[in-house]
Point group: C2
Chain length 207, copies 2
Amino acid sequence: MVTVYEEVFHWENYLKYGTRQFFRKKECIYKQGEYGEGFYYLHKGLVRIVTESAAGKENMLNIVIPNQLLGVQSLDQKTHFTTAIAVKDSVVYHFSADEFRQLMITHPELFKLFSKSVIHKMKILLDRINLNALTSEQKLAVLLHNICDEFKNYEIPISQQDLACCTGLTRITVYKVLKQWQEAGIIEIDKRKYFIKKPDFLRNLVS
Amino acid sequence: MVTVYEEVFHWENYLKYGTRQFFRKKECIYKQGEYGEGFYYLHKGLVRIVTESAAGKENMLNIVIPNQLLGVQSLDQKTHFTTAIAVKDSVVYHFSADEFRQLMITHPELFKLFSKSVIHKMKILLDRINLNALTSEQKLAVLLHNICDEFKNYEIPISQQDLACCTGLTRITVYKVLKQWQEAGIIEIDKRKYFIKKPDFLRNLVS
DNA sequence: ACGTAACTGTAGCCTATTTAACGTTTTTTA
DNA sequence: TAAAAAACGTTAAATAGGCTACAGTTACGT
């Protein structure tokens, strides 16, 4: 289940110490298994974090919105255990581990920022875990609801296929739930775009 | 799915700055939802980390072994999003956020230690997520395999009930798989103790 | 030492999801 | 702009894993 979280962290003042990099839509920022060094800060754009399990199944973990970190896993020259792919053209700042460590000595307040960001990441992962206890309908409800919150409107800009990937369900299951909701008037489908008509219904499904 | 990870982090030199606390078996170190302040380092004992989803289902996340941190989530006075319960009598050291921040100024190398520990936690969560893509048989295989690695022998010191809780499966499912494995000679059951006879079989199930 | 509580063995039913299959539509890209 | 590649709509069949139930065991507290 992908959740778009939007807590804001104020890294702006430190960006000048990082290295600016551009990534085109669909370009890969880092790959699972690759060695990395340091971490990235997303300045503009949108990035999808996916992970591939041993069994080879791909799962979207979350969507990173600007002002968040990504790739923290490889701070200490460890391999990345996720893959990051730009959803839109994106601008990121890269901080190498050494650079950042130096920077922290002169700016100790950075630790708070860093730890907050990382804890936030952990919260996302945990939410993801807890979703597995839900029914498929609930999973989808949570996902759609989050997406709407994020994009601030009730149109869902994500394909059925992606919804399946985000929730870990089959496309067919997604299709079934969506159809059922459509028949119940909870969502509307037009030209393969989905519009949420009764957001409260989705909310109630979960709480 | 619980995994017992054993990467070692060397916090010994810094323990004197923390506050030593004792917890009896089954005692709760912190509860999901409670406010926390700082984090804990497990010196001796064994701690179980569980999380309760919105739906009320309880899930074991992992088992913390000595030399690891726990409760990092509440470093910044946030609420804990997991619960930690001592499995054995345990000795932990508590570091308050402020104390630790001060400490980091005088000992910048602590950052590396901290980040390593936290990244390790993230890895655990991620592994947990990836498990959900597996079949129940695979989940159990991974779990048993990990447990054996950890305890360095092929006897499993965990009840069926707990195996169920760790994997998120039903006890009945656990029982079924175990029975099937027993019939195939992969494990042996004696007096409610399980012994793994063909560890390779378990390994192959996953890879 | 005894009673209660927690764990295990087993069966059967049931349903939510998955897989498979296939034609149609949309989007991408060369 | 045509061909190739994704994505979608739909159905039917197969199945894994969940829930219920209940009796027999073991462990544990006092």
